[in-house]
């Protein structure tokens, strides 16, 4: 019994001495950190998601304090955090538009076909090595293996009926899923976007019809309908320019395949 007590005492005394030494040296070698940096860091969410492009929240705080980054550079904190940081930095908040990720595919299991039966690794990133880029009839659509789900730090994206869907309330627009999707299906769009094109197929109309019931055939009806020149068909796929879109909904009304939706 005394052996145990002596052992515990020795270890704790050694620990105590080292702790005191470190505490003392910590004071002696303290690096003056800008108070602003500490304050800014306190306001940042602390997920260290890297969505801002810096190595983590510490690095972003440093950059903001040094004036190298915008006060609203944190996509996760969005406007409330930007305001608080602006108060600390004494700067004006620019108009930060809240963004959200959006998966441009509506080809759910019952709307598309399987060209063959795939039983391999269920991971989107291996699909480019699989014949025809995966078993899905559409070679542009969401494969539903959920690499984006795994990449999302906020549990905001889920595969529902074979297609990834973003929960826009939870989405912080960090861009992790955008980067990971091998088919480049995910785009950051404004949170308040009214209309969205839910397809990414660059195939010609006939091929699209064969592959999926809800694909953009590039008929250009939406382009003709738009009064604001906000929707364009390029590479057989409609794309909305959200700087111009007013959300009138005429394109959605006219779309024969009903792939332009209210968001």
């Amino acid at each position: 019994m005394t052996g145990i007590i002596i052992a515990a005492a020795v270890v704790s005394i050694v620990g105590l001495i080292l702790g005191l030494f470190l505490g003392f040296m910590g004071k002696k070698f303290a690096v003056e950190v800008d108070q602003k940096e500490i304050d800014v860091r306190a306001e940042l969410p602390g997920n260290n998601c890297g969505g801002c492009g810096y190595a983590g929240c510490d690095a972003l705080a440093k950059a903001i304090a040094a004036g190298e980054a915008e006060v609203g550079a944190c996509p996760v904190g969005g406007e409330p955090v930007a305001k608080k940081i602006a108060d600390i930095m004494g700067a004006e908040v620019g108009n930060t538009r809240r963004m959200t990720a959006f998966v441009k595919c509506a080809g759910e299991c019952d709307k598309t076909n399987e060209t063959y039966r795939y039983t391999g690794v269920e991971e989107c990133t291996v699909m480019p090595f699989v014949p025809n880029g995966g078993s899905k009839s559409c070679t542009y659509g969401c494969m539903g293996y959920g690499s984006c789900v795994k990449a999302c730090p906020f549990d905001a994206i889920h595969v529902i009926n074979g297609v990834a869907v973003v929960d826009k309330k939870k989405c912080k627009a960090c861009g992790k899923c955008v980067a990971v999707c091998p088919r480049n299906l995910i785009e950051l769009i404004p949170y308040d976007a009214k209309e969205v094109v839910k397809c990414s197929s660059k195939d010609k109309g006939k091929d699209v019809m064969a592959a999926c019931q809800v694909g953009c055939v590039g008929c250009m009806l939406c382009t003709k309908q738009c009064e604001f020149d906000a929707i364009k068909v390029e590479n057989n796929i409609a794309h909305i320019d959200y700087d111009k879109c007013t959300g009138c909904g005429k394109c959605a009304e006219k779309c024969p395949k009903k792939i332009i939706h209210a968001h």
Partner: protein
């Protein structure tokens, strides 16, 4: 003479990385540039030399008299962790650039098995204080030699046309293997 043999044996013959395969994490992780490799080597020399001295003292004057030699691992780890913390503070204050360059590998010296390995080897070989310090310094110097050579080779490899399947880590590991074979040549001299 005995001390010289200990130093050379620790630095070259029983090179910690290439013969004993300890401390591979920073050896592979921080060997991209000669500058940071040298910085890492310097930090490791500092930590290992001081920790060898402290561990030897603690072992001889605290653990042995109290008959607590079985506590050596935990006490050594405590000392090493505190030392690394200390080195981190000093570097942060004196050389922020090196601090940034070493990044996560600096706190990882704590778990660098070379550091603990040497402290335990010293005890095993029943070295006295001076022998322990020399052995520790020699080992750390050996680590530095190995990591700097590695960084030099890697810097040159950057410009070589490495086959696609060997790019990145594979070629580094192959290089490490070849270096290890080369260092095997020292094994006969002592």
């Amino acid at each position: 003479m005995n001390l010289l043999i200990i130093a050379i044996s620790a630095a070259l013959v029983n090179n910690v990385v290439l013969s004993q395969f300890l401390g591979l994490c920073p050896f592979l992780g921080v060997s991209k540039k000669i500058n940071t490799a040298a910085g890492m080597g310097g930090a490791v020399i500092g930590v290992i030399t001081i920790s060898s001295a402290l561990c030897s003292l603690i072992y001889d004057y605290i653990l042995v008299p109290l008959d607590l030699t079985y506590l050596n691992t935990i006490v050594f780890i405590l000392v090493i962790a505190a030392l690394v913390q200390f080195v981190e503070m000093v570097l942060k204050k004196c050389s922020p650039a090196l601090y940034e360059a070493l990044g996560v590998y600096l706190p990882l010296i704590t778990t660098n098995c070379a550091v603990l390995g040497i402290a335990l080897t010293n005890v095993q070989e029943s070295y006295n204080l001076i022998e322990s310090v020399i052995s520790g310094f020699g080992t750390a110097a050996g680590f530095t030699i190995a990591i700097i050579i590695m960084a030099g080779i890697r810097e040159r490899n950057e410009f070589n046309d490495v086959p696609e399947s060997f790019q990145g880590m594979p070629i580094v590991l192959l290089t490490a293997g070849l270096m290890s074979i080369a260092f095997f040549g020292f094994s006969g001299i002592l």
